[in-house]
Point group: C2
Chain length 596, copies 2
């Protein structure tokens, strides 16, 4: 089925929900205005619909292939990547000093949603480059920027993030790859990395590997990790390509989904590398890029959900079965059956919630860098930090659940691979895992983000939601308002409970036992806030006669759907927040009935 980029929804979410106007108002983006936003989203939609969506299925079927120490991209992907790069899509938010277009991060995130919707396996390639771009912009030397960054921004080369080792996944402090100084300023890099997305391919002449490894004298654990850059092909001082570097893929994984995204096992065998940033601060440097990548993964969750939603909606409008209670029509489209309509409406509501959260995180990231005064920047940095794990985890869980609902709407056809709904269900499943599992995100939220500023960022978002709640009284009466009020109250209770528990290190397990439920609570309620803001903006536009009335009224009703179907979870999440670590500690393997 044909994918159509939801350009109108994306623009609405950026403007009316995430408030991208504030970013424009900083003056830091002279080339950005509303028209540019519209044009960029339109063009991204075009590329997604015409270049990338047609390759999604063949990518799934054929996948990337490995043979003789090299990876070949899935059929059509290498050409498509080069066309994508030539269109300037790899440097949207990069600095013009390095050839980028200097647009807001929030717009880049929005523009990439259709890319991931159209072809999630493809989208990972530029997404990883973006992470490398961020790392080099922040920590690279002038020479590194000149040599590598410009090529990444132009898309001539791609980037790869090389963190995980077999024994070091969520716990990167356990990694053992070594980098030994060669005496000439370069390093000799040795070790094995796994799960390296697009770590090798034939779409570009070179690939820039950003690799975590240890210097010979490094302290053990996370404080002894440094960040290195190792290009697949060495670069001569004049910028021309030289000899092949001493690393290679030794295989690609056979995965549940995203078959066209090669997931490489990489062997570095005395590869020539250079240090990026300061020795032993590699983990911190990598986290600058990982945090950006985390929001991008959140957008992937939204994107795959949107794709699944569109496909399910098209099927529901086409497939006829039974009699509708609304039309009385026998052989009605299944869309006219309330339970099918419910599924589609809840899917759409959750997608808009996730989109709002991710783009709000992008706006916060832009303002954290570019707001006018230091207090403002600190405020927005706090909000970016708080929202990042929520954007990543909530949106990707949502992506899986919505893709599963998409299968369900199709009935038996959903289980047949040719239909395509199953591919979304398979592809979506990676997003809660990579770039830090959603459990890691939850621990990051309760362990660091919540309390790093004494809870100020969390309290600020509660205050902002409460302000929206006051406005909501003008639009709805009764339950839709009460449900948001109760949900905000649950967030407040949970937040205060956690901040209190965090005072006592002996109760660390209570906090960790609460992590998942707290993240889900925050996501559910902040998601509701996003829809509430959208509904209020839609009501204003409707009054002003500005836009398609059916679509705007839909935004108003969609909040109600969300309030009835999702916001009620808040009290249940609150119960789980308070379950306590002691209860879980008692659930030993024996208690769980493990075979003796």
């Amino acid at each position: 089925m044909t994918y159509r980029a939801p350009v109108r929804d994306l623009a609405f979410s950026l403007e009316a929900v995430a408030g991208v106007d504030r970013v424009a108002a900083t003056g830091a983006f002279p080339d950005y205005d509303r028209d540019v936003m519209g044009a960029v989203l339109e063009a991204a939609g075009q590329v997604a619909e015409t270049l990338l969506a047609p390759l999604n299925r063949i990518g799934d079927q054929k996948g990337a292939t490995y043979a003789n120490g090299a990876v070949t991209a899935a059929p059509g992907f290498a050409d498509a990547y080069r066309e994508f790069a030539a269109g300037g899509w790899t440097g949207l938010a990069a600095s013009p000093a390095h050839g980028g277009q200097g647009l807001p991060k929030a717009l880049e995130l929005a523009a990439f949603e259709p890319v991931h919707s159209a072809n999630m396996a493809f989208g990972l390639c530029p997404m990883l480059s973006l992470a490398a771009i961020e790392a080099l912009e922040a920590h690279g030397t002038d020479r590194q920027k000149e040599t590598y960054l410009t090529k990444l921004v132009s898309g001539e080369w791609t980037g790869a993030m090389c963190l995980t080792e077999p024994q070091a996944g969520s716990d990167l402090g356990a990694l053992t790859s070594q980098a030994v100084p060669n005496g000439d300023g370069s390093y000799s890099l040795t070790g094995q990395k796994i799960y390296i997305t697009w770590g090798d391919h034939d779409a570009t002449d070179n690939i820039v590997h950003m690799v975590l490894a240890r210097l010979p004298d490094a302290p053990p654990g996370p404080k002894g990790i440094s960040l290195f850059l190792a290009p697949k092909v060495l670069v001569n001082s004049d910028g021309s390509l030289g000899a092949r570097n001493a690393f290679r893929p030794v295989g690609v994984e056979h995965k549940l989904g995203i078959h066209a995204s090669p997931t490489c096992v990489m062997a570095y065998e005395g590869a020539t590398a250079e240090l990026v940033g300061r020795p032993n601060e590699g983990l911190a440097h990598m986290f600058t890029m990982m945090n950006a990548a985390r929001v991008a993964v959140g957008v992937e969750g939204v994107a795959i959900a949107e794709r699944a939603f569109q496909q399910a909606l098209a099927y529901a409008l086409d497939r006829r079965q039974g009699r509708s209670p609304w039309t009385g029509e026998p052989g009605a489209p299944i869309f006219d059956h309330p339970d099918v309509r419910r599924m589609l409406s809840v899917m759409k509501a959750r997608i808009e919630a996730g989109r709002g959260i991710c783009l709000s995180t992008g706006v916060a990231a832009d303002l954290a860098k570019h707001a006018g005064d230091a207090d403002d920047r600190r405020f927005w940095k706090g909000r970016e930090d708080l929202l990042t794990p929520i954007a990543k985890a909530w949106s990707t869980d949502m992506g899986v659940e919505v893709a599963s609902m998409g299968v369900q709407v199709h009935g038996g056809m959903g289980f047949i691979e040719e239909t395509g709904a199953a591919q979304h269900y398979r592809d979506a499943r990676i997003a809660p895992i990579y770039e830090g599992t959603n459990g890691i995100q939850a621990m990051d939220l309760v362990g660091r983000k919540l309390s790093q500023d004494g809870g100020d960022s969390a309290k600020a978002i509660i205050a902002d939601m409460t302000a929206t709640l006051a406005d909501l009284h003008h639009l709805y009466q009764g339950k839709p308002v009460e449900r948001f009020a109760n949900a905000i109250e649950a967030v407040r209770d949970a937040t205060l409970w956690l901040l209190d528990r965090k005072q006592d290190p002996a109760r660390a397990d209570d906090v960790l036992a609460a992590a998942d439920a707290y993240l889900k609570l925050m996501g559910d309620v902040i998601g509701g806030w996003m829809l509430a803001k959208g509904a209020l903006a839609a009501a204003d536009r409707l009054k002003a006669g500005d836009g398609d009335p059916a679509w705007l009224q839909g935004k108003i009703d969609l909040y109600e759907v969300y309030a009835a179907n999702v916001l009620g979870h808040a009290s249940s999440r609150l119960a789980a927040v308070g379950q306590g670590g002691g209860l879980l500690m008692r659930m030993t393997a024996q208690a769980l009935g493990a075979a003796a």
Copy 2:
């Protein structure tokens, strides 16, 4: 990883939760006692572990194959089926008059859980035979029983249910297959059927197709459907096999999961068939077997969840990452991280809830047939009817969600096919779809089951839960009790609201809009009841020194895990019950933002 049948948990659930003793007390099962139960479960576990589990992965990889009008089972499956049948597993609950073992349905359901856990694709083959057995026991003539039923009970032949046509899925009334009388009592059957599970294979000499079709003079719609039997190979009057019948598979589907279960497109081209039961009552006859099949599919949901749980638990005990807040140990098993322990504990709690619901449905089915007096039989029939859609839908949704959590516990390894966790996630996804989608189950619950006796069955289950609540005060204090009390209250409110709405045919859409949420509410709360009954029984056994104390204490704690993580959803489900059809009706394609 090695599958171990949870024999101890199954016996506990049958006895302490589902109350299988009542079935024994009817006297209808003279060959059944506690020892027999234990022996049957042990033996089923053995077969599952040693015969079926080893074939699960190759079945996924190679699948059943189609060529030249015939299906070949996946490697090893045909031999395994014949060994399975020789073991007597296809006739556990069938009447001894036809060669069966005359054991309770509830025990058969319990014994089949390990079969489905070990190899869900395999388990479908005998499961479909069981459905055909039920239909022939209820509606077959003596000759049909002699000719076909005995062969199905012995497992010498298998059965297939042939309902769906391309235009007739959830709406079977739309089917068009024709059966024309031949004048000699037989019929000539013509039409195409899709989604025919194990519709063809090479494991047995014959396959008995139970086919819905229309007689030439049949009224249109669901009241013009009759049930026919068509064997793959015609049977001579002496019982020997004759000529090949005029039907054949024309292909098998390429599916997301259960690759070793051939899903056939079948073409009937003037096939010789016989009528089963009365003309034009085929749908009702088929529903006798579909209701039994629905509980069996619920057990599949439990089974795949148990398999995913075991695999995730084994991984979590083995994989080491980071420091545990409980042990302080660096490089601790990830099982010692609270968020991982939470996932596994919630998985286990939900599995036990689903197991309790399914086996209670089985007990109700046994008592509906065999209870001593007519009032009792009516009572238990009402309970069976009420629980059936819940057992099917709640357990299979749970199966998908628990399989997804199983992937998540594995982190990156979960997305790699070789690990096996992904296969469970793929296999599990069919169960909410077939034997009536879960949306159809929800509509059956609110449309028929809830009100067919004026709500008596629902009110009776509320009363029973309230009685357990009273006992719960002796075991827990505070929240675990409050949560169950609130949850029962939500069930009561929702039930009364629905019964009231159902008085007014103009509000049919409100009832349908509530269906999914009501089913989930019932499932969540009845599931909690199951765990509460288990906890009370475990406390008694603990006091009596009867059984492994760690495991029994685990049952008591597991209820608390469920109360904190699942029972809280009740209030949220109640909100969704009341959302109203009008809201959903307003969510038109335009409102949902469909491209113009």
